[in-house]
Symmetry: C2
Subunit: 134 residues, 2 copies
Amino acid sequence: MLNIGDVARQGGVSVETLRYYEQQGLIETPDRDANGYRKYAPDAVRHIQFIKRAQDVGFTLRDIGDLLSLKADPGASCGDVRDRALGKLSEIEDKIDVLSRMRDILATWTQACPSTGPVSECPILDALEAEKGL
Amino acid sequence: MLNIGDVARQGGVSVETLRYYEQQGLIETPDRDANGYRKYAPDAVRHIQFIKRAQDVGFTLRDIGDLLSLKADPGASCGDVRDRALGKLSEIEDKIDVLSRMRDILATWTQACPSTGPVSECPILDALEAEKGL
DNA sequence: ATAACCCCTGTAGTATACTTCAGGGTCAAG
DNA sequence: CTTGACCCTGAAGTATACTACAGGGGTTAT
């Protein structure tokens, strides 16, 4: 059995984060020792890593709660999980599209800028003043 | 001279947003009418649009305050503005890189998922449990 | 003069994922 | 027996860019 600090170290998060996850319902309420300390089974570390990996690929804690419910639900199918992943994939693609447009505009502008000369003749500022349809 | 509501409508923002921008120092404090109403010159609308366009390409309000300072500073050069734009460009490219990695992983996973079958045999959940170096 | 709409201030709430703080008990080593 | 490291709770703070609300006054048209 592990103390919260052990789980935190092994899971690569802070103890505050663990308490937060518990409060958010992402970790099942652990048993307590006589002294009131939380006691975790060793596989709690894997559970934390699941959460962190899901975050790494873009899932929010809310999404992760949903995934964990599916994981625990014998009636759920693999397709349910896939749906969540596809939804997230599409969200991410949308974000990439938005950012790519920003990148293209900034790249154009920075290439148009001579770097020298006063700000009164800056093509970037001019573009910000006047650019129409972004 | 325009009331705050006029500027809001023409600039495509809410009056609350205008007051917020003023409080944040992005708009110079407007003169007041006898009744205490803010009175704006017509070019205040252009100023708002500058802010909105800068936001559209990824600048935060803090960044925009910085850009506005440069814009108002006769000693500033076009290169200063270009530096800000290049810095933002690189931030955006970083975000795109992170999101692209997420996208690739999710695409791989969703392709590996058969959609049918119980969650206990879901390759996506398995990957989240076990995946090492993301 | 009454409705409908505009304006004012200041404060608090929203979302996300934590982090920090205040105040206090527990545990292991020397 | 004290020091340092660990644990507890509950509340508040962080960042960003607003939005909403409470409570009150001004303006316009009928």
